[in-house]
């Protein structure tokens, strides 16, 4: 393999400097070093020694008195790096710095190579979890010297199971491939979908991630390494070698890395065209990572032998001069492997979005993707974001207004000619044109706000709530526009008033309010004494939504299967498989889910009220707390919504007072609600994924439904026990569902 440095044009000075930094040879020979004692330079002012003046002046100063610039404050002073403090000063020479530099050109045993590979994986996973490159990947000395690992240069070893190829082929190929993967990830991450420093650090510190090195060369290197290692393993087996498991483990690691690299390469292609290929690579990867055979990655984790000095944390001191390092603990090999498996399965699920059946199911996918635990890493989130919208198209191919139209059809089934290109004979030419213009204007207008809902789920959990609060205002405006459009359409098309666009927009808005409220529980924003207030408001919301649904059902006839096929210019639909797409309306299952949530929610509220009344839950006495102020503050985001007024605080207080009068009645009512919720859950479980629009996230959906069921059952048990014996202690935890708590009874 040709050394890549030679392929570079030598003329460009920036390239040279960059390479020099890459090799950590900071003293670039071409660059003239500025001499700090430039005594002979007549063009610049001379230095004047003021050490004595400083001594005298400091004697004259009072303790605590500063000589400083007007613009320079004590606060600024705090961000200065203290020189000669070993924790902050990265330029200080420490005891450990005196050891001789690491020699990457030594031959290594199989166990040692295995250790380096596993440690590098730990570094890679730490980087993906948000740490800086300088504290993770860049600490690997083989990363910096990867191009000098040539077979002839490697110091030969006496041992037969320690040939130089283990370093020059196997380790080199693996490190190169890892670098390439990192580069592909880095390219995605700099596209700005996630927050730098909050989610991820993309700082390269002027080093190169091998971007000039062609993909094919890396793949060739891996293929050659695999070939060589298989042959070597065979030879060792025939000679009765002992540590065959190590070589099998190395081989599996190379295969896994190859699949992972290929998946990233497929992912980086435009228009999501290669996601199916990426999918199969990732499935192979998951298979390798979870395999428990002899010689599998999982079984050979403990065979590695540490290579002294192969990872040097001090690299960070050289690279980040202006900030003190953050403390970092690398994940152990087992933890790293586990996160790798999670990453692989997350990316696999991401591949499925190109085959989505309906916009609603894609939205559900995003929703469950965001709520999956462990929370998705920044790369997967960013990738999902890019996949959903790039090249100014939905999934890179579909215009946004068509997505809005599809979503409307999924929810409400408006007259099909609204979105088709053909005028039905019953409609006059003029009114057809007028209707189409108005509708198309709205679809275009709603495109970006609707897209935002998808993209919000690609942020971290705390951001999701924050951004939703922000976009709520935009949806208010959209709701008004939708209403105006409906009024206009009512004049042209219907005898009676029907509000399709209003209901669609309102539905999105209410979902967002629900998510904002309930996410607060998951993010632990509310104190336990606030639960009754929040659940009361959620109850208000769910009741409101129930009424909206009833209204829709009464005024808009929605059949189970949409009768007339939707014809659009959508490229995806012209493929032969999607011709058979059945439009199953999501409305019925939405109603059912709403009533389940309603019952579960009201039961939790009633139980909380009753338990508080009979002193099973104690409210903390807060010194400066005013419940009404808190009420206004908590629901500030919903204070000025159109057609969804924030109920006055007195109404909440009144409801609580009335409910507190008869705690036992409340518990009875809670039991009834839980029974209803359980019945409805039993009805929704057998519904097909197409009906509930969850075919892309079937597992997470199932888990969610099961969690609600478990909460219902365990709360029923708790209430029954308390009704028999009120002298007990209650422990509230979000054991099963992140939004509704379970009450655990601890008998005294």
């Amino acid at each position: 393999m040709a050394a890549p440095q030679k392929e570079q044009p030598e003329s460009s000075q920036t390239n040279q400097i960059r390479e020099a930094i890459s090799k950590l040879a900071i003293d670039v020979p071409e660059k003239e070093i500025y001499n700090p004692y430039r005594e002979n330079d007549y063009l610049v002012p001379q230095w004047k020694d003021i050490t004595t003046l400083l001594d005298n002046a400091s004697n004259d100063l009072d303790v605590g008195q500063l000589v400083h610039l007007q613009s320079f404050t004590l606060f600024d002073a705090m961000s200065a790096i203290e020189i000669m403090d070993p924790k902050m000063d990265t330029g200080m020479i420490l005891e450990g710095d005196k050891k001789k530099p690491f020699d990457p050109l030594k031959s290594l045993s199989g166990e040692q190579v295995l250790w380096v590979i596993d440690r590098l994986l730990s570094c890679e996973m730490a980087w993906l979890s948000g740490h800086s490159l300088s504290q993770t990947i860049f600490t690997c000395m083989y990363f910096h010297d990867v191009f000098s690992l040539v077979q002839e240069k490697i110091e030969p070893s006496q041992r037969i199971d320690q040939p130089p190829e283990l370093v020059s082929s196997v380790l080199k190929a693996y490190v190169l491939a890892t670098t390439k993967c990192c580069h592909l990830i880095w390219r995605e991450m700099v596209s700005g979908n996630v927050y730098e420093e909050e989610d991820f650090t993309t700082n390269l510190f002027g080093l190169s991630l091998g971007e000039h090195y062609p993909d094919t060369e890396v793949l060739n290197a891996i293929d050659y390494a695999i070939h060589w290692l298989s042959e070597f393993k065979k030879r060792m087996a025939s000679e009765g070698g002992e540590n065959l498991a190590v070589f099998e483990g190395l081989l599996n690691r190379l295969y896994a890395r190859k699949h992972y690299l290929l998946a990233h390469m497929y992912f980086s292609q435009p228009k999501c065209e290669w996601y199916h290929k990426a999918d199969s690579e990732l499935q192979e990867l998951t298979k390798l990572l979870t395999s428990k055979d002899a010689g599998s990655i999982l079984n050979t984790q403990n065979l590695g032998k540490e290579v002294d000095g192969a990872f040097d944390e001090n690299i960070n001191r050289i690279l980040t001069s202006q900030t003190p390092p953050r403390p970092i603990i690398l994940p152990t090999q087992a933890e790293a492997l586990e996160s790798f498996v999670h990453l692989s399965s997350r990316l696999t699920s991401l591949c499925s979005i190109v085959d989505y059946q309906s916009v609603a199911s894609l939205l559900n996918f995003c929703k469950y993707f965001a709520s999956s635990r462990p929370y998705p890493d920044a790369f997967s989130r960013s990738k999902l974001n890019t996949s959903i919208y790039h090249s100014y198209r939905f999934l890179g191919s579909c215009p946004l207004d068509e997505v809005v139209a599809e979503s409307m059809i999924d929810l409400l089934q408006p007259p099909s000619w609204w979105f088709s290109k053909h005028r039905p004979q019953s409609i006059e030419e003029e009114s057809y044109r007028e209707t189409k213009t108005a509708i198309n204007a709205f679809l275009e207008r709603a495109g970006l706000p609707f897209l935002d809902i998808f993209r919000i789920y690609c942020h971290n959990r705390a951001r999701q709530r924050r951004i939703m609060c922000k976009v709520l205002g935009e949806w208010e405006i959209l709701l008004n526009e939708a209403f105006t459009l409906d009024e206009k359409l009512n004049e042209i098309c219907f005898d009676e008033s029907k509000y399709y666009f209003y209901h669609w927009t309102n539905h999105r808005r209410l979902n967002m309010i629900e998510t904002i409220l309930l996410l607060g529980f998951e993010l632990e924003l509310y104190g336990s004494h606030e639960y009754t207030m929040i659940y009361w408001f959620v109850d208000y919301l769910l009741t409101y939504r129930h009424n909206v649904y009833s209204h829709i059902q009464a005024n808009i006839a929605i059949s189970d299967v949409y009768s007339e096929p939707y014809t659009s210019s959508n490229a995806r639909q012209s493929s032969p498989t999607s011709q058979k797409r059945q439009r199953i309306c999501e409305f019925q299952s939405l109603q059912l889910i709403n009533s389940i949530k309603y019952d579960l929610n009201i039961s939790v509220w009633r139980t909380l009220i009753a338990f508080e009344k009979i002193n099973l839950i104690k409210k903390p006495s807060l010194a400066f707390d005013d419940e009404e102020t808190r009420y206004q503050h908590r629901f500030k985001a919903f204070a000025n919504l159109w057609n969804f007024e924030l109920p006055p605080y007195e109404r909440f207080r009144n409801d609580v007072n009335v409910a507190s009068e008869k705690p036992m009645d409340q518990l009875h009512a809670a039991q009834m609600s839980l029974n209803r919720a359980k019945d409805n859950l039993r009805r929704i479980i057998p519904e097909s994924a197409l009906q509930t629009k969850t075919e892309l996230c079937a597992d997470s959906y199932k888990k969610d439904v099961q969690a609600m069921m478990r909460t219902c059952i365990s709360n029923q048990v708790a209430i029954t026990r308390i009704m028999k014996n009120t002298s007990a202690k209650i422990n509230i935890s979000f054991e099963y569902h992140p939004y509704w708590p379970t009450f655990n009874v601890i008998e005294l």
């Binding site: 900071i26 003293d27 070093i33 500025y34 700090p36 004692y37 007549y42 610049v44 002012p45 001379q46 230095w47 004047k48 020694d49 003021i50 050490t51 003046l53 400083l54 001594d55 005298n56 002046a57 400091s58 004259d60 100063l61 009072d62 303790v63 605590g64 008195q65 500063l66 000589v67 400083h68 610039l69 320079f72 600024d76 002073a77 961000s79 200065a80 790096i81 203290e82 020189i83 000669m84 403090d85 330029g91 200080m92 020479i93 001069s321 202006q322």
Partner: protein, 83 residues
């Protein structure tokens, strides 16, 4: 605030000048002199660090008085004699 003595006033006049400080381990820092106190703890802004042939930007640094061996300031007045 007590009135400045002559020494302090002179030192104050050097604020915002380029300063060169040698520290106990032989490194030299060149940066803008922005602050100092009774213990000679001195803060330089936009500082560059020099150790032998190596040079790098270190930004805002505080050099503790006990490590400060020598401090020079760019002498803007001396420049006149060559004019």
């Amino acid at each position: 605030m007590p009135n400045d003595t002559g020494n302090v006033a002179r030192l104050r006049s050097y604020l915002n000048h380029k300063a060169r400080i040698k520290v106990s381990d032989g490194r030299i820092f060149i940066g803008v002199f922005v602050c100092t106190d009774k213990d000679k703890n001195t803060i330089l802004a936009h500082a560059e660090e020099y150790r032998g042939d190596e040079q790098r930007l270190v930004g805002l640094v505080m050099i503790p008085g006990k490590h400060l061996l020598r401090m020079d300031i760019e002498d803007l007045d001396a420049g006149d004699e060559y004019m």
